[in-house]
């Protein structure tokens, strides 16, 4: 059994997990609408961390000159430091693994000429983190599209259960850039307005940025900490950027973790809910095939936008805080169901006494993952 000893979120909604959770519970959003942003000349709604706040928090908490680091490195180091300080693990131990989850890392450096090429590599960013915390291990870098965050949690739990490690520090981070905004824009995947997951008027996703950290440890299911119980990663084998029309991967991943499980005990399913036409439709099919039609489902993209490599960790952290608060959070942006299956996205925060939640997530390359967590005792 794996426990989540501590977590930390650096996002437009706050510079620690508690602040983030309270803002989400109050229905606040980090998404703003811009007439142009980061060199992209069109209306874009996205969720951006304040640069001045980031630099001042970084210099205060990390005590280093912020000029030497990229935005991504600052956000990641800040997030990891907070989570590490809150836990009691020894980060310098060879029994502590480090995982880094990111899709594009320092990609904005492609626009700049004055940097060393190595800085573009994800292993370099991960190594910067392990070096900072004086951890002797080679960091494990997961780059598996938008499911990277949940993959890291699954991979870390397997590494702990194999006996190779006792603890794992998992940080996921991705930032806004001209690169990703241009890319998703040319795929016609972006909504110019704040996104509306599962809604009949949904027009696409909003991009966001975040650094999110979780610290995992071998523990037990009756612990005061949230537990990670099981996870599965499954490919659709269908298309590199469009989800399966029958939700094969998502359905198989859910089946893997829920076979023999009493789904009555599940408080909610935290979905990917990007608010693109195809993703939300696919997830509704997966939920329907699992016969979870009446189960409350939610999505957090209306608060944070799609934070890519950070998403799986960020959203699992928020979900974890909510279940320990006996709350099922509302799906910001959702009003009227606009998918082909009868499913139950939340329109307001609900009270729950059920102990489990499921996280469902999908990404490019036909990737899907599902994971189940239990609240702390």
């Amino acid at each position: 059994m794996i426990n989540i000893l501590s977590d930390s979120l650096i996002t437009p909604l706050g510079f620690c997990s508690e602040e983030n959770y309270q803002n989400v519970k109050l229905g606040k959003t980090g998404i703003k609408t811009y007439s142009g942003i980061l060199g992209v000349d069109k209306q874009v709604s996205c969720s951006k961390i304040d640069d001045i706040l980031l630099d001042s928090e970084f210099e205060k908490q990390i005590n280093q000159n912020s000029v030497k680091y990229t935005r991504l490195e600052k956000a990641a180091l800040l997030s990891v430091k907070q989570a590490v300080d809150k836990s009691e693990i020894d980060v310098t131990s060879c029994r502590t693994a480090f995982f880094f989850s990111s899709t594009k890392g320092n990609v904005e450096l492609l626009e700049k000429n004055s940097f060393e090429e190595d800085r573009l590599y994800l292993w370099h960013t991960a190594k910067m983190i392990t070096d900072f915390f004086k951890n002797p291990n080679i960091p494990i870098v997961v780059s598996n599209a938008c499911i990277s965050g949940i993959c890291s949690i699954i991979s870390a739990s397997r590494a702990i259960e194999s006996g190779r490690f006792d603890n794992a520090v998992i940080v996921g981070a991705d930032l806004l850039s001209k690169f990703t905004i241009s890319g998703f824009s040319c795929l016609k995947a972006l909504s110019p307005e704040p996104c509306k997951p599962f809604d009949k008027d949904r027009k696409g996703l909003n991009l966001g940025e975040a650094a999110a950290t979780m610290i995992l440890s071998r523990g037990d299911v009756n612990s005061k900490y949230t537990s990670f119980l099981a996870g599965s990663i499954r490919n659709d084998a269908n298309h590199i950027s469009g989800p399966s029309r029958t939700a094969e991967g998502a359905y198989n991943a859910l089946t893997d973790i829920l076979t023999g499980f009493d789904t009555e005990q599940i408080a909610f399913v935290s979905t990917h809910g990007t608010a693109t036409f195809f993703n939300d439709e696919m997830e509704s099919i997966a939920i329907d095939r699992m016969k979870l039609n009446n189960k409350p489902i939610n999505a957090f993209k209306g608060y944070y936008g799609h934070t890519l490599g950070a998403a799986g960790i960020l959203e699992a952290v928020i979900a974890s805080h909510s279940i320990n608060d006996n709350t099922v959070l509302k799906t910001r942006g959702f009003e009227n169901l606009g998918v082909s299956r009868e499913i139950n996205p939340t329109r307001e925060n609900l009270v729950t006494d059920k102990p489990y939640f499921v996280k469902l997530i999908s990404g490019f390359g036909g990737t899907n993952a599902a994971a189940i967590f239990k609240k702390g005792e």
């Binding site: 626009e111 590599y121 994800l122 780059s143 599209a145 991979s155 397997r158 390359g365």
Partner: protein, 208 residues
């Protein structure tokens, strides 16, 4: 426990490719009309038009998987077959190509076909599509080829999959070196353990 069923490789520095039991070479003549990867595709008479839409990383994965699995037709369409790949540079070559379509604001035409390949795990996705593998697909980035890292991660995944294709690829001075293993939890007659020692031995025999 994990066992090596077979492996395939591509080595641009000596223009060779093959498996443990089959070796072939690209000649200078083959390269007159085609680049190195396309020359392998044509030499092997593969017929998969989507190959030409792929970026180099996906082409490498496709070719390695094709070389391997042509000997193991029974592995096709496996619900619990997975693909786990590793490299050093992620999708950086394609990232730079995509960046070229957006860097000039007077000639700003971001390319959808390039953008979809700016994730390294598309390599694993293309293999899953081709061979209908519906198990786990994952991608990891490491500074160097690391046989223990690969062995540990794949062995962990094999607890949840029956069979895994696991590949390492890299462009060293723009020369492609790639190695892909077919790894099973079942031991067959001659199969060696998929462990750090054996992975390292095979890598060195091919590339050093």
């Amino acid at each position: 426990m994990a066992y090596i069923v077979d492996y395939s490789y591509i080595n641009q520095s000596n223009l060779s490719f093959g498996t443990s039991s089959f070796k072939s070479e690209i000649t200078e003549n083959d390269l007159v009309e085609n680049n190195f990867l396309t020359a392998i595709y044509r030499k092997q008479n593969y017929s998969y038009p989507k190959f030409f839409k792929m970026d180099n990383l996906s082409k490498i994965g496709f070719l390695n998987a094709e070389l391997l699995l042509s000997h193991f037709p029974e592995v096709e369409n496996r619900k619990n077959a997975g693909v786990i790949c590793f490299n050093r540079i992620s999708s950086l070559t394609t990232d730079k190509n995509f960046e070229n379509t957006i860097i000039d604001s007077n000639n700003y035409y971001p390319s959808p076909a390039l953008f979809v390949y700016t994730l390294p795990n598309i390599e694993t996705g293309e293999i899953c599509i081709r061979h209908k593998f519906m198990g786990e697909s994952s991608f990891y980035v490491t500074e160097h080829f690391n046989s223990k890292y690969i062995a540990d991660i794949v062995e962990d995944s094999l607890k949840f999959n029956d069979i895994i294709l696991s590949g390492w690829s890299d462009f060293v001075n723009s020369q492609i070196k790639s190695l892909m293993f077919l790894v099973s939890k079942d031991k067959s007659e001659d199969s060696e353990l998929f462990d750090s020692q054996n992975i390292e031995k095979i890598f060195k025999s091919l590339f050093l």
